[in-house]
Amino acid sequence: MIEICDLVKEYRAGGGKAVRAVDGVSFHVADGEMVGLLGGNGAGKTTTMRIVATLLAPTSGVARVAGHDVRTDPIGVRRSLGYVSATTGVPDRLSPREVLDSSGRLHGIDRRVLADRIADLSASLDLGGFIDRPCGRLSSGQRQRVSLARALVHDPPALVLDEPTSTLDVVGARDLFAMLQSLRAAGRTILVSTHRLHEIEHRCDRFVVIDAGRIVASGSRAELVAGRTGGLEEAFFATIGGGAA
């Protein structure tokens, strides 16, 4: 569903010097799979996610979602995925219903179909208690649920979530991953990035560890922790060369 091959992204730093944020990254996420993209701050996770979501153009390499190339068919990519950013990105002065309605109309969904879709999402993501309240008055967890609902409003086959738990407390993070697992169970493909390893250690099918723009390890939890006494966290630090926490 999501294919990334030899992806490179260069930025221009001060003085015109080129900096490689992503340096030859290649991995894929199969249909119905949930993959965790792990890495510290500045590792290249967000840049990779933004390329997949068509917010950034790759310097070189290929990124495809549901067969649509991010370079040649960005509209097709956007119709095939739902994107959730770390900041939730919901307007304070609109209610969740208005956010979903606006997003659905942007995706060209018929009004009656959209109303049913909003009702379904409200029920499945438990938005009912606050669906007509301004988003500015919602808690971080509620806002992230609205953000997830918006990403799902056009019923995309793939979901890309960039550090979705960074503003959530433990309970909120647990609830969000529970929802993601139920979405994966329903057949959706999910790529999620985070640097809070304990949250996703037992929830993803596979992990891709990225450091300084390069993939340093990948595989299932069992493959990554094989031969080590600790869990995913120890394996992560070992692969990026940062030592045990």
Binding site: D92, S103, R150, P156
Partner: protein, 729 residues
Amino acid sequence: MTSPHPTGGWPARLAIASRDLLEFIRDRRALFITLVMPMAMYPLLALSSTLGIRTAILELDRRQESRQLHFVFSGAEAEALAIRIGALANRSDGSPEGWPETVTVRVVDPTSAQSLIDEGAADAWIDVPGDSLATLDGAGTLPLDVRLSTSRPPDRRVKESVLAVMRGLADEARLTRLRRAGLPASLIEPLRVDFTGDLPQGSAAAVRDILPAVTAAVLVLLALLTATGAFYPAIDAIAGEKERGTIETLLIAPCPMFDVVVGKFLAVFAVTLATLAANAISIVLTSTVLGRFLPGGMAASLRAGDLAACGLLTLISFVGLAAVAAALCLTVTAAAKSAKEAQNTLTPVVMLIAALAGAALLPGAEGRRWLPAVPFAGHVAVAKSMLSTFGGLDTDGRPQAAVAQPAMNIPLALATSILSSLAITWLLLSVTATIVANEEILFRGPEEATRGLRRPPRRGVPTIWQGCGTVALGFAALWYAQGLAPRAFVPALIVQQAVAVLLPLLAVAWWQRVDARETFALRWPGTPWPRTAAAVVGAALLGGGLFVVGAAAALATWRGEVSAEAKQFAGQLVSLVRGGTIVPAVLLLAVMPAVCEELFFRGWVLSACAGRRPAPRRAALAVVAQAAAFAAFHLLPERMPQTFMMGLVLGMMTLATGSLLPAIVAHAVHNATPVLLVATATAADLESSAQAAACLPPWSVAAALGCLAVGTALIVVSRQGRHTETDGT
């Protein structure tokens, strides 16, 4: 399982627009400032200006009122002259033209007359000399000394009344003389003008005088306030979304970036239109109320129905303005990372809109065909023309179309304005889409916002933008220098050179950290020294020759018909040179401007435009550009052709020699030539040349052309071998 629904196009644009509008409407503070403030502002402005308008109307009224003149006569024939004036006043065919409604004459002795005039009991005192009537009726000229009262506030009307009475007396005397000579009265009246109809009187006339100016000022204010209606929604539309972190989720909408931007534009445009409507309604209501507080003529003229028509006409002509303002605000805020940054970027927009809207009121602007196509200026001009043609009011409440010829073809102008607005809006939205899609702008760090203000790294010569910026700064400084400079000629010259030329140049050069030697060409024109000498002598000959040839051309072109400013400048120059010693005059008028202006134009501007080692085409363009700036800097139209030519020659000379020294020498000699000519001329020479505005003698022009030829040859000689040396080093 890709979403099967069609996306993009107008449904997506309207979805974004309605989302943004909903957000804006829920921001009560922005809503209040954008829509409610205008409703409160116009009444407040009207209240504060009512007194001024009322005073102006009453003053105009007063000028229309009948005038009275109180004379006091003394002298031997005072009584006889008073009788003559009385007879004129009571003439059967009416008083002479301009005659005051009431003229009273008191005949007293000189002491009493002096007292009356000192106390202000009389307007004017004439001590009538003996044989006055004999002189009037004879063939001589009667000299009359009229003393006006100085105890009252100065009133030009008293002098006008006295002159009208005296004109009447003189006309009567002329007729008497003609009759005596047996000549017809028509001898001195080759033309008589009779008017049919009448001009409005009193407050009605005052309103007609004031209304166009008030309307024009209100239209400029309306243009500015309409544009400010776009500020808040434009800031919120892109910069606000970035600040709140909501932009990313919008940018992954399945539609082209242009659709996203058009959606945003529609929301901003809707708010701007609402602001325009709120302003127009407020203006109409305020004008209706204002009319009740003003003198009767005004109140009668400003009828509610006509005012509503005016409001509607303004709305129609300003729709394009609202669109351009909305698109412009969106464009300039698109690159901002936060609302605060966006606000800063909008400040120059206010200045731009005010300048363009105000330009529509310049004399003669309304007649220009292309004016309706110019944003803001065109909108104001079309609105003004529409109001004066269809919505303008005369005292009877008739549309002014019946009495006035439109300054422009209204349907064509309106169509041009709307089409131009559409094109400009589309262009701006395309630019906005490009800016928003630019990921380096979209995801840049906060420090990038002030990149343009960071002190740049050291470089050899300034960039072309730094050159243009300094010229703009110089013009701004020149504007203020005109206002700040003292009236005295010498301090004014020093302030002008220091403030408008040297100060901006030093400030920018210091900030930009350029290589001063390379930028200002601070090197000798050639080595060994004979080449430098040849260049300097050649430059001096060129400078002197240029002045004489330029002066000859100017005299032939203008033939003495020069502006008052040019005459004043020439007079001040002559006074300075003739009133002091020659050396300070040469230093002040020749050396100082030569050094300052050459550093500025042939140093900074030329090197910025030409760059290092320019190709011939770029060098030519650079020389023309700096010469044009140099000519414009001298303000006086009469001097511009001459200064432009001089700028061309000095620019080429600087590039040819690689040194600023020849240009400074040529400029100094050019300016010193008239100083030396004035200093050595006799008073008779000056008098005759001032009166005749004579052409220069042919031999002087021939000599000047010779100087130009020899000077050019010397410059060419000094240049030989230069490239070889430069390449060798």
